[in-house]
Amino acid sequence: MKVVAFAWNYIKNNKHHTAVLCISISLFLTLLYCMGFILSGTYDTFHNVCVDLSDRMVYISSNEYDSSSSPAQLEAAAEKLRQDPHVEDAMVIGTMTVRVTPAIGEYNFSCPLTTAENIKKIMKHMNATLIEGDFPANDGDIIIDEKLCANRGYQLGDEVKPGYHITGILKSDYYLCMGINFEVYENNILLLSNQKNYDYTALTHDLSFPHSLKDGVTGRKSYKVDIVNSIDPSTKLITFCTLILLSICLVVVINMYIKDRHEEWCLYASIGYSTRFIYLLALWELLLTFLLSIGIAFLLILLGMYTINQLVFAGYGLLCSYFLPDSLLSMLGSLLFILGICQLPIAHSLHAVQTIDCLESDN
């Protein structure tokens, strides 16, 4: 297409002008995606703990001071729950609280303290393998996932809770931690679930003691309310403010560039090119600039993600996603917005295009 050739000719011969626009836009796109990537280190980690873990390990917690929930009652309840097809196994356990700290915020969650036999069942259910150290054999022995180790800075032999020491390190898809109980009151029932996002409320409704339930459904609610709803508004605000600032700068810069093109566009009009052609020329110059910017941004994003992963995520056992559809959508939306806002100086300049005779008269 002739208009594309014209546009490419301008970009080829005005590298400085194009570079200014390209670098601005590509840095902005890189910022958007890398911000999403950094946040994924938070979202993905929280999602794993709040949702994925809760889908597989459901906690029914009774009040330890409630005398209506005796060990026998809990055991009977666990036996009954074990019969349900949505439950792979059920066991009465104690718990300890462990904290995970992603890039933003921190989250406390429960980990089972039980017998060695139950620990084996949990490991099998969670597809966890011991990669370092020893399997718990004595009271107070803890095994912990390598990601959680890295996040908390633990090593073999470290004390997680008074009396509880790390004897082994696991490899799994979850932030697992479990150990042999010796003094914690066992007022929880752990259900090993084989259902995703299954509401266990109905199943636990007729338990004879007051209890609280933490399953995949409550985990999702908690994730949405505590994590997403608290971080999302800030992210959106940062994106919006940066976009507005960039758009204003781009409009000013493009206006300056277009003013330099005024005589050129008047020449085109005089020698018979239509206003439509001139508009398409300006549009294609913008589109080609955007394409170049996307190419540069792609390389910068790869570099950025690698650097962030090396510096932040890998060393702290955080989960992250490399492919971020939301960020890509955000980038596309931003590009469309910038393209739209850049129509203003173009339209204004097209309106001012005259034929050469008028330019000569003005001179």
Partner: protein, 230 residues
Amino acid sequence: MFDISQLTMIYDMDKEDKIYAINSVDLKLPDHGLVGFMGPSGSGKSSFMYCLSTLKTPTSGEIQYNSHSFSQLSRSEQELLRRKEFGFVFQRHFLIPYMSALDNVIVAATDKKEIAISRGIQLLEDFGLKKSDMKKRPGKLSGGQRQRVAIARALINCPNVLFADEPTASLDHTSAFVVMDILKEYAKQHLVLVITHDRSILKDADRIIEIWDGKIIHDQLISVGSKEES
């Protein structure tokens, strides 16, 4: 080629003192030849030429080009006419500063790129530009070279009519005569209309028309044993 009748161009229509840039001009122009337009500043020469080239719309009157009336042409048809049938050489060359000389020539081309490049190179060579000069940007060329590039751009589509508004105004005498030689050569088979203040460059013109206050006061056909005045 051109049949102009009662052509009038008025500026400041709303004001009491209207300005008649062109005042009821009747004229016929042939298919080929070098026609010079002379007159003082503000006499209406440029307005007349711009009306003929569809760059301006007259207030009244009719212009027929090859029996087609301009008033019946749509805007896109006028643009097409300028693209394919007309060529323009302006007083200032209006070369695009970031394009090479050759690119400036082919910017006006309507043919395919390969054909346009070939013809552009041929034109520039005919006008005395070296291959190394063709790759230079206008800023690196002399005034005479720039004007020759502008003429090459005007001729890239072999237009039937070439409009040249003060084509030698910013040139020295030597370059001016070189440019006029090119135009004279082209005028052998096409119509070339030249506006100028300098009578000396019209020494080879076939016809000289003098315009004063928007009216043709003198129309001199320069050929053996024949003169025509209006």
